[in-house]
Amino acid sequence: MKIEIDQDKCVGAGQCVFAAMDVFDQRDSDGIAVLLTDEPTEEHWEGVREAAAVCPAAAITLHEN
């Protein structure tokens, strides 16, 4: 799994951090989402899929094989 975030779209609602705290974080300056890793290990996939599904700005794209 590979993750991309469109930071221009991100609205800083924090939904992704709430879904997968080990994968997503928020930038201190403006609360915009950042990736702690763009290739998470399998135990995080469920949370990452939830993050992508609930992101209010549809700013998270997942590439899954």
């Binding site: 609205v11 800083g12 609602a13 924090g14 939904q15 951090v17 709430f18 879904a19 705290m21 974080d25 928020q26 930038r27 201190d28 300056s29 403006d30 609360g31 915009i32 939830e50 599904a53 609930v54 209010p56 700005a57 549809a58």
Partner: protein, 400 residues
């Protein structure tokens, strides 16, 4: 031709369910015209997918000053002439202001507040247990918890809580007229203006001070823009969570199996899931998300023309079986994270990380500390907020 139904619609027998007439509209995932208080006929959007599509559409505006925007009441319409915050602006103006606030509501910052919120919750429960019973859970607990927290965050004195809670109540009452609202809003803006001015002279470690220091000094925000932001944050910061605490408690008392499961768990994930399910099930923002089309858009097989008003009925969308199986049952173990209780799109609630921590602390503490908590009046005597733009209970007599 059938008559255009009036909106909002009355609730039916179950006080937790959205209006039956709205449920019938959703049976066909319909987008249909309704008549509102001013005689205008905006579209009401039902269906989970329809709701998300409209709220994510950049051709749809949240600007309450545009012609065709369906204000929820005469009072609110008048209020927004005097005080419009970024939630009623579009991008890029909206995004610029929102991004000044997002750092203050980040998940990690709100998580850092958890011990302090726990302390507030425990202290209020101690006080309630030491006082007379029955007690009104709204005044003794549901209102003070988020009010104390937002006051500390903003740097507003909690001693003024009677004043700002009363003003907030009037601001979101459907019955407040434009004439009543004007002096109320002027007074409230003056009250907040004094806070902003005092922070300019003597900044503290709080959100209003940081806006004054970081944004006003650089010219990014005017004093009045900070006052309007403070108005939004203070009202939204206590009224919504307070309703979720009191109405959520009532819903759990009426679903004893769910209450028992929540009370008996040590699993923070189950508690977090229960918060999401209660947000979905109750959707206290029962006045819908108000928008106006900037261009013609297609939704639910209808064409909404540019300039026409839209009410996205998120309360009924959260009861859509296509998105939430058996939508009318309260099940704290279900996956409910996709709910629209905080809205959707670029305007989705900025304060949701705070609301989540507050509700997680409350729901994991209150029923454990008071395992015998019970309603002290029959359900049909409870005064529900049918008259308010945000749903809940006016009072809740409880005993233990």
């Amino acid at each position: 031709m059938t008559e255009t139904p009036t909106y909002p619609m009355p609730r039916g027998r179950c006080p937790f369910d959205p209006p039956p007439a709205l449920a019938r509209i959703q049976e066909n995932q319909a987008v249909t015209r309704v008549r509102i208080w001013d005689g205008s006929t905006p579209w009401v959007v039902s269906g989970y997918d329809n709701a998300r599509a409209v709220l994510a559409d950049p051709r749809v505006s949240a600007d309450s000053l545009l012609p065709g925007y369906p204000s929820p009441s005469a009072g609110v319409a008048a209020g927004r002439q005097k005080s419009r915050s970024f939630i009623n602006m579009d991008d890029p103006e909206h995004a610029a202001q929102r991004r000044m606030l997002t750092p203050s509501f980040m998940v990690k910052k709100m998580e850092a507040l958890r011990p302090r919120i726990q302390e507030i919750v425990d202290g209020l429960i101690d006080d309630m247990l030491a006082g007379p019973k029955p007690a009104d859970l709204v005044q003794a607990f549901a209102l003070p918890v988020p009010s104390l927290v937002i006051c500390e965050l903003l740097g507003v004195s909690y001693e003024d809580h009677d004043y700002f809670q009363d003003v907030s109540r009037k601001l979101i009452s459907r019955d407040t007229t434009a004439e009543e609202l004007a002096p109320l809003m002027d007074d409230f803006l003056a009250f907040l203006g004094k806070h902003v001015d005092s922070k300019a002279d003597n900044p503290g470690d709080d959100l209003i001070s940081s806006l004054v220091v970081d944004q006003m000094s650089s010219g990014a925000l005017t004093r009045d823009e900070i006052v309007h932001m403070a108005r939004l944050l203070l009202v939204a910061g206590h009224e919504t969570t307070a309703n979720m605490i009191a109405l959520g408690t009532l819903a759990l008392l009426e679903h004893p199996d769910q209450l028992a499961a929540l009370r008996d768990t040590d699993d923070p994930k189950l508690v977090a899931g229960a918060v999401e399910e209660l947000l979905r099930y109750l959707t206290i923002t029962h006045s819908g998300r108000r928008r106006v089309a900037l261009e013609d858009i297609e939704v639910g097989g209808r064409t909404i023309r540019a300039g026409e008003g839209i009410i996205v009925a998120s309360d009924i969308a959260n009861r859509d079986a296509t998105a939430s199986p058996e939508p009318d049952s309260l099940d704290i173990t279900r996956k409910a994270r996709h709910h629209l209780a905080f809205g959707y799109g670029v305007h989705q609630c900025l304060g949701q990380p705070l609301a989540r921590v507050e509700l997680q602390v409350v729901y994991s503490t209150l029923y454990r500390r008071i395992p015998t908590l019970a309603l002290a009046e029959p359900l049909d005597q409870v005064k529900f907020k049918h008259d308010m733009l945000v749903y809940g209970v006016h009072e809740l007599a409880v005993t233990w």
